[in-house]
């Protein structure tokens, strides 16, 4: 059965691993960028590679689901070959489990290898991540370009071991769609849509709750304020401070002495006007001291940078569990629902 799986899959496997080899070679040849050592800007080529790496690691599981998962059963049903192969001396269950195991292994390995390469290459950039703060007039330019923390929603899914879980899940999702819809093209479309929806939903609805978040209440100062938004009627819209370096900030709220979430008084807006908008002082420490004196503090809810691998492990396990569950359902459906 492994032989048949391999025989039917080898061309696609060769194509996919060929592309993967090209991608890894490109990263190796380009070498790791080294920001922070006096470099203020990243070379354009490195910038492209940085973005392309994220896109590639996100795309690979989706492609595995669409092109390997969805046609796995539906193509057999469309061409009628299931009637040939299911009447040999091998049960449908063994047929399906072998196929899912072999191709699933190929998909997860590819995702793992690509993620490993991209994570290695982007390592220095991820390490150079610092929180953005409002820069007072006259302050020196930062010594390095700042990048999103690797624990932040977008980057997290393109680093570490999570892509392996994504690939396993997307692949089995494709198989399940193929079994339920019985037609390849609709199954591919549904796989893509559902997987994309899951990729969007998980960082916002699921990942924050995978582990209890840390909380910290800080005094708002000129040094840590990162956002100050004012609308046309001079009302304060937004106030945020920078979290710890490399952390994923989930909530950034102003609280009063009693710990209630409140809006900061609107005059705070004048404490740090961007230069050129007003004649007022651009960095008024006294202004912030007055705010602190009134009992206003900023409360941060966040996952610290050090929780990266814990979250990676939990999310990977979650997706692998989902994949296993879906596989079990696929086996059941193949036995009972298919002709």
């Amino acid at each position: 059965m492994i032989w048949l799986t391999w025989r039917q899959f080898r061309v696609q496997a060769a194509a996919a691993y060929g592309l993967l080899a090209v991608a890894v070679a490109a990263l190796l040849v380009a070498g790791r960028p080294l920001p922070g050592s006096g470099v203020t800007r990243l070379a354009p080529a490195d910038g492209t590679l940085y973005s392309a790496g994220i896109v590639a690691v996100y795309a690979l599981p989706a492609l595995a689901g669409v092109f390997w998962g969805a046609p796995l059963v539906s193509r057999e049903l469309e061409t009628g070959t299931h009637r040939l192969v299911w009447n040999q001396g091998v049960t449908r269950t063994r047929w399906l489990v072998t196929k899912v195991a072999v191709i699933g292994l190929a998909a997860t390995s590819a995702a793992g290898l690509l993620s490993l390469a991209v994570t290695w290459w982007a390592g220095p950039l991820d390490a150079a991540s610092r929180p953005d703060t409002i820069r007072p007039v006259g302050a020196a330019m930062p010594d390095a370009v700042s990048f999103a923390a690797r624990i932040s929603p977008l980057v997290f899914g393109a680093r570490g071991i999570v892509p392996v879980g994504h690939a396993a899940f997307a692949f089995v999702l494709g198989v399940a769609a193929g079994i339920l819809l019985r037609r390849t093209v609709p199954a591919m479309a549904v796989t893509l849509v559902v997987f994309a929806a899951v990729q969007v939903a998980v960082p916002f609805a699921v990942r924050p709750h995978l582990a209890p978040a840390d909380r910290q209440t800080v005094t708002i100062t000129m040094a840590n304020i990162s956002k100050l938004g004012v609308n046309g009627t001079e009302r304060l819209e937004e106030l945020a401070v920078a979290g710890p370096p490399g952390a994923w900030v989930l909530a950034n709220e102003t609280v009063d002495t009693a710990g209630r979430v409140v809006a900061a008084p609107s005059w705070v807006a004048d404490c740090a006007r961007p230069p050129g908008q007003a004649a007022l002082p651009t960095a008024d420490e006294a202004c912030f001291a007055r705010l602190a004196g009134l009992g206003y503090r900023q409360r941060l809810t966040y996952h610290p940078a050090g929780r990266f691998w814990a979250l990676q492990g939990i999310e990977t396990a979650l997706f692998l569990t989902l994949a296993a569950l879906l596989t079990w359902l696929c086996v059941r459906w193949t036995r009972t629902r298919l002709p």
Binding site: R7, T79, T81, L84, Q88, G89, T91, R94
Partner: protein, 298 residues
């Protein structure tokens, strides 16, 4: 006589429609059984049930003493060549033989190779480029080299030209002679089955109308023609299968074990085709004991 297939009140429903209902019959081992019926009578459904591709909605079906499709041992006992003889278009002929060898414990590789060689198939040819006849032969090779106890073929020759049809049936019969396997094959054309079958199952409108050994069926069915008379006056042991009347003449197809002694009748035999057609035309629900519910009056 041991049965290779036993159906008891077998039924299969697709959504609202019963493709097969309340079928009770047996197919003896060691025979070539023809399953005949018009398109849509449920032939494919019955064969797919026997191969375990479908599960019954009601009743039971037992094939080679087991539940169809239930585990590797049962799969090894039954070969199935599905309608339109599907093969993997991108795999070569040799790949198909390797597939058979890897997936079947009882695979007879020498037999498969001999057949492919004799058929003149190029082992390196992709199956997608084979003609319909060659594809059917490849599918048959997989079915035979598996060395099953029972080989089920669903309309195997329907899509073939007369020459390919003949070659296919020759090879099938040769395998039957050589390995003594039981065969069930379906066709909507009686002519295909006339020579190759020695047992017959007639399926009409999702029900089994007739089942039995071909010789016996031909020996017990007669065409009677004579002066016009009412079918109700026939002896009780003569079951009327079909009846047609003109003003002066009556023509009947009857089934009886006893000789026909009435001198008024001109008695002649029936070909298989006549026999099947008589049953196909027979109105549904005409019981074995009853007279035909409708007769044609002119």
């Amino acid at each position: 006589m041991s049965a290779v297939l036993r159906a008891r009140h077998l039924g299969k429903r697709y959504k609202q429609r019963w493709a097969l209902s309340d079928c009770t019959f047996e197919v003896p081992a060691g025979h070539v059984t023809g399953l005949v019926g018009p398109n849509g009578a449920g032939k494919s459904t019955l064969l797919n049930l026997a191969a375990g591709m479908l599960t019954p909605t009601s009743g039971t079906i037992e094939v080679c003493g087991g539940v169809p499709g239930d585990g590797p041992a049962q799969l090894a006992k039954v070969g199935f060549v599905a309608q339109d003889t599907p093969v993997y278009a991108s795999l070569t002929v040799a790949d198909h033989l390797r597939l058979g060898a890897r997936l079947n414990p009882g695979w007879d590789d020498a037999l498969a190779r001999r057949r492919i060689e004799r058929l003149g198939l190029d082992p390196d040819q992709r199956a997608g480029r084979l003609s319909g006849g060659q594809r059917a032969q490849l599918a048959l090779t997989l079915g035979i080299a598996k060395r099953p106890e029972l080989l089920i073929l669903d309309e195997p020759v329907a899509a073939l030209d007369p020459l390919a049809r003949r070659e296919f049936l020759q090879d099938l019969m040769e395998a039957v002679a050589e390995h003594g396997l039981s065969v069930i094959l379906s066709s909507h054309l009686v002519a295909d089955l006339e020579r190759v079958c020695d047992h017959l199952v007639v399926l009409v409108a999702s029900q089994v109308r007739l089942a039995g050994a071909l010789d016996e069926l031909l020996a017990t069915h007669h065409r009677l023609s004579g002066p016009r008379r009412d079918v109700a006056t026939l002896p009780a042991d003569q079951e009327v299968i079909s009846a047609s009347h003109t003003d002066r003449q009556t023509t009947l197809v009857v089934r009886t074990e006893a000789p026909i002694l009435d001198p008024a009748w001109t008695v002649s035999g029936l070909t298989l085709e006549d026999l099947v057609l008589a049953y196909l035309a027979r109105p549904a629900g005409a019981g074995s004991a009853g007279r035909p519910a409708l007769t044609v009056l002119r």
